[in-house]
Amino acid sequence: MEAVVCIKPVPEADSRLRVAASGVTYDPEGVRYTLNSTYDEAALEEALRLKEAGAFEKVRVVSVGPPRAEEGLRYALAMGGDEGLLVETRPDDLLDPGFTAAVLAEAVRSLPHDLVLVGRRAGDDEAGVVGSALGEHLGIPSFAFVTGLTVSGGGSPLKVRRFTEAGEELLSVPPPVVISLLKGAQDPRTPTLPNILKARRKPLLREPWTEVLSRHPGAPVRAPAMRFELPPPRTGAHLVDYQSPAEAAEKLVKLLREEAKVL
């Protein structure tokens, strides 16, 4: 069996974002991109552990994005992915989740995919719909909010543990299947220096998105952003001067009661 992990490099959490001139996205200038460790890296870690346990022969990593997304794929190869595929968009192409899922589906379709793993959502737009949409496009089942995965290999059903409002569900599903991982069982590994050097020699294919999408039946459903704006700067912080903790508490209670009116 073989697995595919879909990844999306996103701006580092402490990036200072600015609105781009187009007004519908952020300006990529000076932004550093990374794989989000709680989502995509966790999904890849899960796939690599399953491979190490003998469930898969190969783990491939796929990304849809501008040329700079190659660095994210190289990182994934350094973690232990076997091959990479970058579906290349132009740096100024706007990617919305519907479009990404349609392109990803055609890319994944061209690869052996007994299991397709995605992080629960992207660390930037937080949409969280690509996994389900991918299942729809591929015509295979997809499961979200997955907290545990057991794969014995050889085409036998996967044991999927899902988190629901009513409690945990344990399902047995035959491959192929799309899994959107809520959280990984283990912290994602950090690529070692020798593995970073080795990753440079692993195969990484590039395909233009127009070519990949031309294989897609019909036009993808798109939901482009209309406007992108930064949250307004925070105002209204009120610092309380005080001499003693007792005085601070007294002043705070007074403010909460008389000004904020929450007491």
């Binding site: 190289r74 990182y75 950090t190 690529p191 070692t192 220096l193 020798p194 593995n195």
Partner: protein, 383 residues
């Protein structure tokens, strides 16, 4: 050969690995280890696991055999989190380099491989209580007895000595011959007659360990001699020639941390109604600090690039080490000044940086010696 200051994607990735390690593993422990002098073995073990140690060991012996420029990129990142830990991480490169450069294939196989297969530390043992810069006058004796040499003497200020399992030791087979008597040996720590002094209590770089190593009739087999008798001094100098540039990068890392702390503070601290960064007295300080930092980094990159091109870089490596470490002291000093009274307090991070930077002016060839080397190299062009 065209000049390019663009890093390759691979170099950026190595830098990213080091930066992540520095942020997640080193920085959170830096203040504690500075206060207590604890040797954070867990950090060094993790650095080894990630391949951040033994950067100079060739691939065929299990190392990563990185170009010096890549080593410098990694060193700067590590040092921006803690100079002392970086020194301990780099100490293996220094200790193993004589084996790299002067060892036979059999010796490289025997000594280098175990360091790449397992987490182990080694120390470079050249300096003696009676002489640092005057290395030619060292007093540790090596007396030939049959198929062995018997070593007697004392080495001081030896980085990682308490935890090291191997020392590369420089001793003389004939003090009359001065430099020409110096010979290099690989001495396992468990050799009878090898003993450790107490651990030094240092001004800075307190997360690294430093101690005296004493040899009392320590018997070392002839197979552990690196090169021929009398080739040790050249080997020590060749070793230091190739490890001097990363000390420049280490100083750059410390200086960068000081400048970053000072910049953030200057933007956030207000006086006379504005952030102090808007006062010219502070702004011009930062302007000078940035210049010195940029110049230091470029000098280390130039020196590393020359070494990687196989060019002679004695002058450039001395310039890089000397300038970057002096600049780091000035930058840390100004950073404390920008922090004012807070900068002098141990609860704030900048005073540690000054103490850590100080060592960069002293070890691996004091800056006074570097200046002599630089002038000698430069004046040669006119004679």
């Amino acid at each position: 050969m065209p000049i390019s200051f663009d890093l390759t994607p691979e170099q950026r990735e190595l830098q990213g690995l080091a930066s992540k390690f520095a942020r997640e593993e080193m920085a959170p422990r830096a203040a504690e280890c500075d206060r207590t002098g604890r040797f954070p073995e867990e950090v060094y073990r993790k650095a080894w696991e990630l391949g951040l140690m033994n950067l100079n060991v060739p691939v065929e012996y299990g190392g990563s055999g990185l170009p010096l420029l890549d080593q410098c990129l990694i060193t700067e990142e590590l040092a921006s989190a803690c100079g002392g830990m970086t020194t301990s991480i780099l100490a293996n490169c220094l200790a193993l380099q004589p084996i790299n450069l002067g060892g036979s294939p059999e010796q490289r196989e025997r000594f280098l491989k175990p360091f790449c297969a397992d987490y182990r530390l080694a120390s470079f043992a050249l300096t003696e209580p009676g002489g640092g810069s005057d290395a030619g006058a060292l007093k540790t004796r090596a007396v030939r007895e049959g198929d062995s040499y018997v070593l007697t003497g004392q080495k001081c200020f030896i980085t990682n000595a308490p935890q090291a399992s191997l020392y590369t030791v420089f001793a003389t087979v004939d003090p009359e011959k001065k430099h020409a008597g110096i010979t290099a040996f690989v001495v396992p720590r468990d050799t009878p007659g090898v003993s450790l002094g107490r651990e030094e209590d240092k001004l800075g770089q307190r997360a690294s360990s430093t101690a005296t190593v004493t040899f009392e009739r320590a018997k070392v087999p002839r197979e552990n001699r690196l090169g021929e008798e009398g080739e040790g001094f050249k080997l020590a100098m060749a070793t230091l020639d190739s490890t001097r540039t990363p000390i420049g990068a280490l100083a750059v890392g410390i200086a960068r941390a000081a400048l970053d702390h000072a910049s953030r503070y200057a933007l956030q601290r207000t006086s006379f109604g504005v952030p102090i960064a808007q006062h010219q007295a502070i702004a011009t300080k930062i302007g000078s600090m940035v210049q010195e930092l940029e110049a230091s980094r470029l000098l280390t990159w130039l020196s590393a690039w020359m070494v990687d091109q196989g060019k002679r870089a004695t002058l450039e490596s001395s310039v890089a080490k000397c300038f970057a470490s002096d600049a780091a002291m000035r930058i840390c000093d100004e950073a404390i000044q920008i922090f004012g009274g807070y900068g002098y307090m141990r609860d704030y991070p900048v005073e540690k940086l000054l103490r850590d930077a100080k060592l960069c002016q002293i070890y691996e060839g004091a800056n006074e010696i570097q200046r002599l080397v630089i002038s000698r190299e430069y004046l040669r062009r006119f004679s």
